[in-house]
Amino acid sequence: MIESFDIFKTTLWDMAKVVVLLFLGMYIIFAGVVIKQVANMNETLDFGLGYAIKLVAIFHFCFAVFVFVFSFLIL
């Protein structure tokens, strides 16, 4: 009984790991889209601070990749 509970527990956390990694993978795609979106926005409206906004978007993308790798290693 205890063994089967342990197996269930392991499977549950494995599934959770897959779900989290899937989510983070989707988040990386989202962060990439944000970069593209900012580029489009800067193309449409330029008010001199486009580079700063783009830098934030790139930093956000790098952070998303870092979190994915970190989660993959830690979980």
Binding site: W13, A16, V20, F23, L24, Y27, F30, V33, V34, Q37, V38, N40, M41, E43, T44, L45, D46, F47, G48, L49, A52, I53, V56, A57, H60, F63, A64, V67, F70, S71, I74, L75
Partner: protein, 248 residues
């Protein structure tokens, strides 16, 4: 008869004299004004300032910053499909106060993990998952803030000497640009109601046009009365140009 309008600006650089954020000031555009009238808050008379500004009315410009919501003659703004001779008279964004609702939500999201940690059921979650969940939670918060902020920053209303424009990024992949020529404007309505709009002096400017898009709405812009006045002056100016045969 000189055509004059008064307006509030976020930041103005008038002859290298920088004004602090939020200072109210009267300003003029060279297109509208035959004789400049600019009053400062330091006891300078209109006459004193006339001497300074008449010579340099093209210099009466402001710089659109990250948080500018009402920017007259912005010198650092350019937009898609802008004609080379076209001059931007006014750049508008929604009033800063309209960001408060999502800022409050973001703040709640920011402090939420501290309250979750107080709950008993978190004891049975392995520490690795706890760490990752907290990071993921903050990533969602960052995404939320980024989207809301970008949505506010790039949703602008532009008035040029030729047309009015609304640029809106509805979501990640949808961009909407609406424009109408000044001479197509039929009616301008100012809608300003409610406690917050009255206190912070912002509202909607609804512009009915004879173009394909019958109605353009400048949402929650600061000082909508002066915006309506600028539009009215531009229409008069456009009519005058038509009569004189100076239409581009």
């Amino acid at each position: 008869m000189p055509v004059v309008y008064n307006a509030k600006k976020d930041d103005v650089d008038l002859k290298s004299q920088k004004k602090p954020f939020g200072v109210q000031e009267e300003a003029t555009t060279d297109k509208l004004i035959k004789k400049d009238n600019i009053s400062g808050e330091n006891g300078k008379t209109h006459k004193d300032l006339d001497l300074k500004t008449t010579k340099s009315k093209d210099n009466v410009t402001s710089r659109a910053g990250l948080f500018s919501t009402y920017c007259i003659n912005p010198r650092n703004v350019n937009f898609y499909h802008k004609d080379s001779h076209e001059k931007i008279i006014l750049l508008l964004r929604r009033h800063l106060i309209t960001n408060v609702p999502w800022a409050v939500i973001a703040f709640c999201m920011l402090i939420a993990p501290f309250f979750f940690s107080l709950l008993n059921f978190t004891e049975m979650i392995p520490w690795e998952f706890k760490t990752v969940f907290v990071i993921v939670w903050y990533m969602i918060t960052i995404a939320f803030v980024l989207e809301e902020f970008l949505g506010w920053l790039y949703h602008v209303n532009i008035i040029t000497d030729e047309r009015i424009m609304e640029i809106d990024f509805v979501n990640l992949i949808y961009r909407e640009i609406t424009d109408a020529n000044i001479d197509q404007i039929q009616d301008v309505t100012v809608e300003m109601g409610g406690i917050w709009r009255t206190i912070f002096k912002f509202g909607d400017v609804v512009i009915q046009t004879a173009g394909e898009v019958p109605k353009i709405r400048f949402e929650a812009v600061p000082d909508p009365d002066s915006v309506a006045k600028i539009l009215r002056d531009l229409r008069v100016e456009e009519e005058q140009e038509k009569l004189e045969g100076r239409v581009r």
